[in-house]
Symmetry: C2
Subunit: 394 residues, 2 copies
Amino acid sequence: MATFITKSWSGLVYRCRAYQKLAPCRRAHAASSFKFEDLQVSLTSNPQPKPDPEKLLFGHQFADHMLEIEWNLKTGWGHPIICPVHNFSLHPSAKVFHYATELFEGMKAYRGVDNKIRLFRPHDNMIRMNDSAKRASLPAFNGEELLKCLKKLVMVDQDWVPDSTSTSLYLRPTMIGTEESLGVAESHKAVLFVLSCPVGPYFPTGMKPVSLLADPKYVRAWPGGTGWTKMGSNYAPTISVLNAAHDKGCQQVLWLFGENHTLTEVGTMNLFTFWTNEQGEEELVTPPLSGLILAGITRQTLLDMARQWGKFKVSERNITMKDIIKALNENRLKEMFGAGTACIVCPVERISYKDEWLDIPTMKDGGPVVSKFLKDLTDIQYGRVSSEWTVIVD
Amino acid sequence: MATFITKSWSGLVYRCRAYQKLAPCRRAHAASSFKFEDLQVSLTSNPQPKPDPEKLLFGHQFADHMLEIEWNLKTGWGHPIICPVHNFSLHPSAKVFHYATELFEGMKAYRGVDNKIRLFRPHDNMIRMNDSAKRASLPAFNGEELLKCLKKLVMVDQDWVPDSTSTSLYLRPTMIGTEESLGVAESHKAVLFVLSCPVGPYFPTGMKPVSLLADPKYVRAWPGGTGWTKMGSNYAPTISVLNAAHDKGCQQVLWLFGENHTLTEVGTMNLFTFWTNEQGEEELVTPPLSGLILAGITRQTLLDMARQWGKFKVSERNITMKDIIKALNENRLKEMFGAGTACIVCPVERISYKDEWLDIPTMKDGGPVVSKFLKDLTDIQYGRVSSEWTVIVD
């Protein structure tokens, strides 16, 4: 059985930390945290039937339990609670309804071929969630304590982790500001919660390539903004642009930036290009962590894997639509694909740009690079190959 | 009694409409709306004591009733309901908690010297709220119908409109996406609601000037973004920057843009500069509606008033920090002030820029321009001067 050696993820972490300095957190007790040892568990008396794994729709059916932890400025974090999923009762002035005081993470629990349940690089989600919290002026916490609570939640709802190596239990850690007062300011009350939902194969009929709308008049993020976080505020402005993409026959948006139409990300995925570059080298390219894009955990994983393979050059650098078009014209562009927790990898087949279609030959020869990423990554996630990147839930 | 002739507000409306084309709304039934004639009123059996008008804190105490209207994609808008203020019960997967699917407006009801209650240019709030809804992929509605419901809400809670010409009842129309599902997409369920709260004099001890942090490393909005809307997503990213401003001894942030450090707005206010320009003309300048700033109703009102006065040049154009510093050095800068519904006008006395303090002489000679704006505007709002801009609630 092959073993991946996990590289440290210092690149991502420290870069995010650099952005954070832009917005210092003033909470003296930010280092305080809830603790796993205080966790209280209250099980449902009314467990729901599990859905048919063949008919799972992303984010529509939830496991029986949730994790919930309240915070307020005066007394800090309360005890973590695992309880049946229930509605929140919130005053209509709660800050989250007015000023988007909120952030989230996306993770998955995988049931492996050995029937063990694994998380994938979950420490990195904890770090990123704290980074988002700092930028959003929401309270910090100890990520290791949250991870222990989260593992317990998965154990409690372990029957909800589907028994199939094309499905998983999606985990959604979230934090919202709940203080009942109007006025743009830090929320003095918050709730951290985790929902989970069984999710199906992202590609029920194999890797189905997508089309992207690349229209420079829509801008997702900018220098001095928050594009590197998972604050809810990065997502609301994208929804009507997604609708515009659908109207053009595209499934997603390729967000461009600047007058050179630099490629950034796909809103819910990072973006990778595999080509022969102008120097004649085979190269995998993805945009750098400049603050404009999310520091995706799948992104970092593909970079780490490709560097370990050592088969081609691996670059974190900016490329433009002009570069893409030139490479297409010269038959140098081989593959383009998104990467993210939900889809793992997602091949791109077309880009709508300046009212023309660019055909991307990703799957023409079976997409050898994207296919190898999918295989190697799912081998780890489903326990066919052992790796320090996975954490077993037991 | 003087009368202001109301100019049409086509400039603002049509410019906003131009931005909207960036994100076409695909809802076939967007033109449908709830109707005032369907309004149901359910009064509280437990009216709360009114707060001491001398001790009002913005946004912390709410009138007895709220307006609430539900919407879903299948059946459209439900009946408007006026009911006691109550908590919302929402599933933790509601889109508003994850993707900032939300928007709001800010308005005030003023009790005039004739004891009549007035709204100020409320039709413009209705137009802007629909503009924000379109950009946020939330449902459109008939603004005139909402305004009728809103007037009824003010009538129901008329005892909450303080009897003082330095206070008012702040109205907060809000819309949130409530669909219970994860996934970045249009919300198929929404709630439109209106809260109200009595608010005190913004300047309990007279017009107290504020200090602004102008640091180009923080960027509020970008071309191709949503800075012109009142989506909640414009506010969350500003909160930690506000904290950074407070740490520097500033009350608010002066948001700059671009390499020339162009002045844009103050996050909760638009910005006006009164100076002698480089051509030796007295000029009132405010940034243009380029999409980067909110199309403030107070902003438009000050422009309309100043043009009607005809005493000095009135310009909507960009100026930079270099222009400000040059004007200060040449003793040409007279006044600088914010303008918005909450404060009406708010003089600026200092700007922290590149780790230096710029002293702005706004109140040195009593701030004749900002003071005249305050007087003329409050004369209208409190009924001392009649105006087509006011709408009497009865």
